[in-house]
Amino acid sequence: MAATDFTPDEMMTIAAARALSNDDVCFVGIGAPSAACNVARLTHAPDITLIYESGTIGTAPSVLPLSIGDGELCETALTTVSVPEMFRYWLQGGRITVGFLGAAQLDPFGNINTTVIGDYAHPKTRLPGGGGAPEIASSCGEVFITMKQAKRGMVKAIDFFTSFGHGKGGTDRQDRGITTKGPTLLVTDLALWRPNPETKEFEVNAIHPGVTRDEIADSCGWDIRYRDDVEETPPPTEEELTTLREIKARTAEAHRRKGA
């Protein structure tokens, strides 16, 4: 049964969750990726393996972590390894099927900036930096990106290449000797995008229920391409929505300090 009352944010998380399968081994970032991965685990993909870069392998948190190394991740993990081992044996070792990334700036080829707005040496805004992203982008089998649409976020050209997607498009990625697929999916709060098989430029593949093409255009800084047979994203099912809302509620409760 489909839900009718849901937010764009909820639709984004649920659409991302659906792209994950039971066999995936997923390198999870904090925020929307973490919610999507855990909704997948709690609905159609109970055996999905979730890995956080803090070293926790096979975690099954009951609440969403506020940080990448919350105690809950370790307590519910199959095992917890050191951070050097995580990056050497697990990420670089080619064991991750899906890496999930967010972006401050994203271009239509899936290149991501989370480093600086403006010039690197004299930035207008200093952002947190790449963290694990440069190697998540190159070592994971494929990369899913989630972000809310905004003109300042979805830009024609990013200010800094924190992590490489499809570069200039076409075969740029493989020409640089990168053997993994790179970004294969972008889920925003308004639509689901996939790269064109030839040009590697993101195209809208599905529009979330109730969203118009004008809304998509008004919140995106690049010229939008649509696949010929654009679909409508199926709305969240009751199960999906309940699962997401419950884990969000548990999370809010857990992160509220007693008496604070």
Binding site: I30, G31, E53, S54, G55, T56, P65, L66, S67, I68, G69, D70, G71, E72, L73, C74, E75, T80, V81, S82, V83, P84, M86, F87, R88, L91, Q92, T115, Y120, A121, P123, K124, T125, R126, P128, G129, G130, G131, G132, A133, P134, E135, A137, S138, S139, F160, F161, T162, S163, F164, G167, R176, G177, I178, H255, R256, R257, K258, G259, A260
Partner: protein, 285 residues
């Protein structure tokens, strides 16, 4: 051989102006009490190294004690940006901050190489990434067997590593459990090390043979500081003070409220203040 000291002594004897210092801890076991001691002693001109500089480095930077930062992700986890760090980078407030920026993979490998006594770390990384163009310490090595071009970064060899751990025994052997981060590597890579612990016990007891233990002879100084990781957490002792991380965003928003917080919570108190800060968080993991 590790000697047990007060935190004041351990820091005074091991952290000197101009040193490169790695305060490590990956969300878990971040050595806040030791960093506050550095602030109280006003030890400056530091090069700070850390994969995930969060609010503890925002504090050191805001106090003007840091000339250079080597890092891979600088944010307040789950909250947002670091306002003192931004102010230093964007506006040179309170002083200019030189930065050397890497990816997590690079820094994790560089600590590993430091622990392993190598001059460099070799890994597959930075493919198509912009940091290569702005950081001259990202270079290349060609595999003599396959011809593959791999990334190379210098090993991290700090003057001092500072970490927080669960326990030490009377011989100075240190036990770390849970999310391990790069703390073991940081200590083994450093010339000197200061380890704060939740408690010092007669002996580590009947622990599993494969747990992460730093032998006492690999550690310089140990200080017992219960609660010393707050607002980070210590598995088996107390949970993370998530509210404190949220609060920091407001505290660090301007220099006045920042200084007020430092005066009240760092300068006017000693390491014993940490035990009280975690009192309500004990058992919350």
């Amino acid at each position: 051989m590790a000697t047990v000291k007060s935190l004041q002594e351990a820091i005074a004897e091991n952290v000197k102006p101009g040193d490169s210092v790695a305060f490590e801890g990956f969300t878990h076991l971040i050595p806040h009490a030791a960093a506050h001691e550095v602030i109280r002693q006003g030890i400056g001109d530091l090069t700070l190294i850390r994969m995930t500089p969060d609010i503890v480095y925002d504090q050191l930077i805001g106090c003007g004690l840091v000339k250079k930062l080597v890092f891979s992700y600088a944010g307040n986890p789950g909250v947002g940006l670091l306002r003192r760090l931004r102010d230093a980078v964007e506006n040179s407030v309170p002083r200019p901050l030189e930065i050397e920026e890497h990816s997590h993979a690079a820094m994790a490998n560089a600590y590993e190489a430091g622990a392993a006594g190598l001059p460099l770390a070799v890994f597959r990384g930075y493919k198509g990434a912009g940091l290569k163009d702005v950081n001259p310490n990202i270079r290349e090595v060609t595999c003599p067997f396959t011809g593959e071009v791999l990334a190379a970064v210098p090993a991290i060899r700090p003057d001092v590593a500072v970490i927080h751990a669960q326990k030490a025994d009377r011989k100075g052997n240190v036990l770390i459990e849970g999310i391990l981060g790069v703390q073991k590597e940081a200590v083994l890579a450093a010339k000197r090390s200061v380890v704060t612990v939740e408690e010092i016990v007669d002996d580590l007891g009947d622990i599993h043979p494969n747990l992460t233990v730093l032998p006492g002879w690999t550690v310089t100084a140990i200080a017992a500081v219960p609660g010393g990781a707050h607002p980070s957490y210590a598995r088996g002792y107390y949970g993370r003070d998530n509210a404190a991380y949220l609060d920091w965003d407001r505290i660090a928003a301007d220099m006045d409220s920042f200084r007020g917080w430092i005066d009240e919570n760092v300068m006017a108190v000693g390491p014993e203040a940490f035990a009280e800060r975690v009192a309500e968080l004990r058992g919350k993991m």
